[in-house]
């Protein structure tokens, strides 16, 4: 990629960060945040987007960002009051800006349908003339002071105490089997070092003399060390290298970051140049005493001079105040621990992480195989081998958890898409809505997060469209006009739980039941508990065309939501209180790479059923099992009948059905809440298994979701419960 294209990509990545900052800042202000730094950050976000857009000539983006920025500037300076209406316009402008950024990224820079309207609004708000565009102003002639090419400035201006070591080995150094890297490592033990390599003498490869030395290093050592210690490091190479050691130290009287910053900070308010600059470490320094000891700022007058007098290098203007001697050591200590320079994150290709996860999966399997072999060998539990193995198991678990954590991300990335959705749906339905989010930092596997976006979008639309009442109805019920939709995430017993709740009217059970009867989903005379009625909304076919408004959209119902949650190994349920609102609770596994499984056998085959799908296990009694003719059977469980599916037959392992009393039934809940009982020969146990894709290694097999390798090295298939149930149902219909 050419460098400019790479920078362009960086720009769009940064835009996303800026857009998130912009939105969260505006939302915070809407929530009453009056911190000047918030509005500054909001302004800076738009300003930066505009700046970058300029560099890449993204005209539509520049034009819009400019008007937006100007309006924000007016707001920042207090000329435009910060009212809810103004903030709403700003938020809409932020949405349009986000669209424009994405359009620019895709290269489809076209006019945004809402852009020109918003531009007019923003201009009217901030008093920009309607046709005012960025006119090329006459900047007049500033006279800048040329520098007397200050190239010969002193090396390393006052910094922390330390040494600068210039080290250039000669060929002899290497000939005597000395190694520069070892010397540098030795130096690093004396204190914190910053090493700079000077490689400019290295000739082209064809001219290189393998015996010669071309490299030189400049090492800056800070910390408690002395020249003698440094010289000692080079004792053995003395004469075989050029060595120059210079001491650098704090200027007399002590000087440091904190006092410099404090001085600048002190001047700031007097200058009226916006919000005060607060250094990050201000809290640790006794800024007040520092400032008190400084002479008052002697900065030039702030008002812009009409004609610029040739400015002198204003060294005299802001006369450096001597740092107070007693305050200096304190402040220096505070300035000591530096922020990590390079940031604490790295970007890694996702494939590499997945490869690592895969390998750790193999390791887990291998460890289980080994454990089983050791057990089979009849070694005592307390033997050294067995004990070592226990430790290995512990470590393997920890490695697995840590590796999984690499893929984990905070749900914030999907939560933060929701405020915009809420605004749009609220505008379309005319219902004022406030979105409350909680637990944005909760982490879960990246894939889970990605696949959560659609179900969440749908549920939030539903919550506003169907859940919340109209403002009039809310007023009649004595509720505030503004409805609340809450989105919360938290961890519970090794899973992530996500709740979507609203403070609306709750599920209209009469109506839901009426629809279900009308659709033939339940019998007209059926007596259903409140909970059962609420769960009807998850039935396939419950959502009707008449029901689908523009907003709840696309004709998908809650059954699709349930199916996508189940596809992730999750469960969803609803609790609704009439007049108080509804809460949808989704519980999802933290990762898709491992699965809690019930290991079962059917006709000599070992199979794994996902535990999340299993409601209970039971030993069928002869009197509970009824034949429907053919091989189709049902089993009566607490008065209700569910189909009994012989897993061995469903997968084609055997032709004749297993006698129900000889086996064990797993009561499972599949798609749409439908239940079935899976008949297997025996249950072997419950364990965590590493999921191996069958599709990637073999091909897709109906009824089988994936495979895994068990502790004894055997391959076991993981059942695709929904498919087995659906297919068996079809068979049953044929049979009856």
């Amino acid at each position: 990629m050419d460098p400019l294209a790479a920078i362009r990509e960086t720009f769009f990545q940064e835009c996303e960060e800026q857009l998130a900052e912009l939105e969260s800042g505006l939302l915070a202000m809407e929530g009453g945040d009056q911190d000047p730094e918030t509005i500054n950050a909001v302004f800076r976000a738009v300003h930066s987007i505009k700046g970058g857009a300029g560099a890449f000539q993204l005209e539509a983006l520049i034009r819009f960002a400019h008007v937006f920025e100007t309006a924000l500037d007016e707001m920042r300076s207090g000329r435009v009051p910060i009212t809810p209406d103004v903030l709403k316009t700003m938020l809409r402008a932020a949405d349009v800006l986000a669209d424009l950024v994405r359009a620019a990224h895709d290269g489809s820079e076209t006019e945004h349908p809402l852009a020109s309207g918003l531009v007019d609004e923003l201009k009217a708000m901030s008093g920009q003339a309607a046709d005012e565009d960025e006119a090329e102003e006459d900047w007049g002639d500033f006279e800048f002071q040329p520098m007397a090419a200050a190239v010969d400035m002193p090396e390393a201006p006052a910094g922390p105490a330390g040494f600068v070591v210039k080290f250039k080995p000669r060929g002899d150094l290497y000939a005597k089997a000395n190694e520069a890297a070892l010397l540098l490592r030795e130096l690093a033990r004396l204190g914190q070092t910053v090493v700079e390599l000077d490689a400019h003498e290295v000739p082209p490869l064809t001219e290189i003399d393998p015996e010669a030395a071309y490299l030189a290093w400049t090492i800056t050592i800070s910390g408690d060390t002395d020249e003698i210690a440094i010289r000692e490091v080079f004792e053995w190479v003395d004469g075989d290298c050029e060595l120059e050691i210079t001491k650098q130290g704090p200027a007399d009287g002590g000087f440091d970051m904190a006092s410099l910053l404090a001085r600048v900070q002190d001047e700031a308010p007097a200058e009226d140049e916006g919000p005060a600059v607060v250094p990050a470490n201000a809290g640790e320094v006794d800024v007040a005493s520092l400032i008190a000891n400084l002479s008052p700022a002697a900065a030039p007058e702030p008002e812009p001079a009409p004609a610029i007098a040739p400015p002198t290098l204003s060294v005299v203007a802001s006369a450096p105040a001597p740092a107070a001697p007693d305050a200096a050591p304190e402040a220096q200590a505070a300035g000591g621990p530096r922020k990590s320079e390079a940031g604490a994150t790295i970007r890694v290709d996702l494939d590499r992480v997945d490869r690592l996860i895969d390998l750790v999966g193999e390791l887990v399997i291998n460890q289980a195989v080994l454990a089983q072999r050791v057990m089979e060998a009849g070694l005592a539990r307390a033997s050294a081998v067995a004990m070592g193995l226990d430790e290995l198991e512990q470590l393997t678990r920890e490695i697995q958890d840590s590796v999984m954590a690499i893929r984990a991300q905070p749900v914030k990335s999907v939560f933060q898409r929701m405020p915009r959705l809420v605004r749009e749906v609220a505008a379309m339905t005319g219902k004022p809505v406030r979105l409350v989010t909680e637990g944005e930092g909760t982490e879960v596997d990246k894939t889970v997060i990605e696949r959560l976006a659609d179900p969440l979008t749908h549920m939030i639309r539903n919550a506003i469209d169907h859940g919340l009442e109209s403002p009039e109805k809310r007023a009649a019920a004595g509720k505030p006009a503004e409805g609340v939709v809450k989105l919360a995430a938290f961890h519970r017993s090794g899973r992530i739980v996500i709740e979507v709740s609203d403070d609306g009217g709750g599920i209209n059970r009469e109506r839901v039941k009426g629809i279900a009867i009308e659709k033939g989903l339940v019998a007209a005379e059926a007596t259903l508990s409140d909970e059962e009625i609420d769960n009807l909304i998850f039935m396939p076919g419950f959502s009707t065309a008449a029901e689908v408004s523009d907003i709840s959209g696309r004709g998908v119902g809650m059954d699709v939501v349930r199916r996508s949650i189940q596809a992730l190994g999750g469960r969803i349920n609803i609790v609704s209180k009439p007049g108080k609102g509804s809460t949808f609770t989704m519980s999802l596994p933290l990762t898709l790479a491992v699965l809690d499984g019930m290991v079962v056998s059917a006709h000599g085959q070992t199979l794994v059923a996902p535990i999340t799908a299993i409601v209970e296990t039971l030993q069928p009694k002869a009197e509970d099992v009824h034949s429907l003719g053919g091989h189709a059977r049902v089993i009566s469980i607490r008065g209700g009948f569910v189909p009994l599916i012989d897993v061995g037959m469903a997968l084609g392992y055997r032709r004749d059905p297993l006698e129900a009393t000889q086996g064990v039934a797993l009561l499972i809940e599949g798609e749409g809440g439908s239940r079935a009982a899976l008949l297997v020969d025996a249950i072997q146990g419950q364990r965590q298994v590493v999921i191996k894709s069958l599709e990637a290694n073999y091909r897709q097999v109906p009824g089988v979701a994936a495979a895994t390798i068990l502790g004894d090295g055997r391959v076991a298939l993981i059942l695709d419960i929904d498919t087995i149930v659906t297919v068996s149902r079809g068979d049953m219909r044929k049979a009856s």
């Binding site: 790479a6 800076r44 400035m153």
Partner: protein, 129 residues
């Protein structure tokens, strides 16, 4: 006539995009030693730790803005002679006027070309070799 390869430059901007653009420009002009900082405070820290000849700084940054950085530099004798170019948006005439009073050596309007960058640096140091 200073050689651009012997000049050390510090780019201060909260945007990686801008820093990369300035860096690319400087590299084309033959600069070899280029440092970056995401805000004025970090920029100041770096200036106290290593010799810098030229600072190219954005104005609007978190923590310590460009004007604050300029003032801090001019108020501290060991670094006060460092050349300072302020990066500004188009409409910031007032800002440049203020920066001039604080001793800025030149300004650079975004978006800029390598030619302009060269011009501005040469206005300070003389023609680059």
């Amino acid at each position: 006539m200073p050689a651009s390869s012997s000049l050390t430059c510090l780019i201060v901007d909260d945007q990686q995009t801008m820093r990369s653009l300035v860096r690319t420009g400087l590299q084309q002009l033959g600069f070899r030693t280029i440092y970056e900082a995401p805000d004025g405070e970090e920029g100041l820290r770096q200036m106290l730790a290593r010799p810098i000849h030229l600072v190219i700084s954005d104005y609007n940054m978190p923590k310590l803005d460009g004007l604050g950085l300029l003032r801090a530099i001019r108020s501290h004798p060991p670094i006060q002679k460092t050349a300072f170019i302020m990066l500004t948006g188009r409409a910031d005439k007032e800002l440049v006027q203020r920066a001039v009073q604080f001793g800025v050596n030149n300004y650079l309007v975004k978006p800029f070309t390598v030619g302009t960058l060269k011009e501005k640096i040469e206005a300070i140091f003389g023609v680059l070799a």
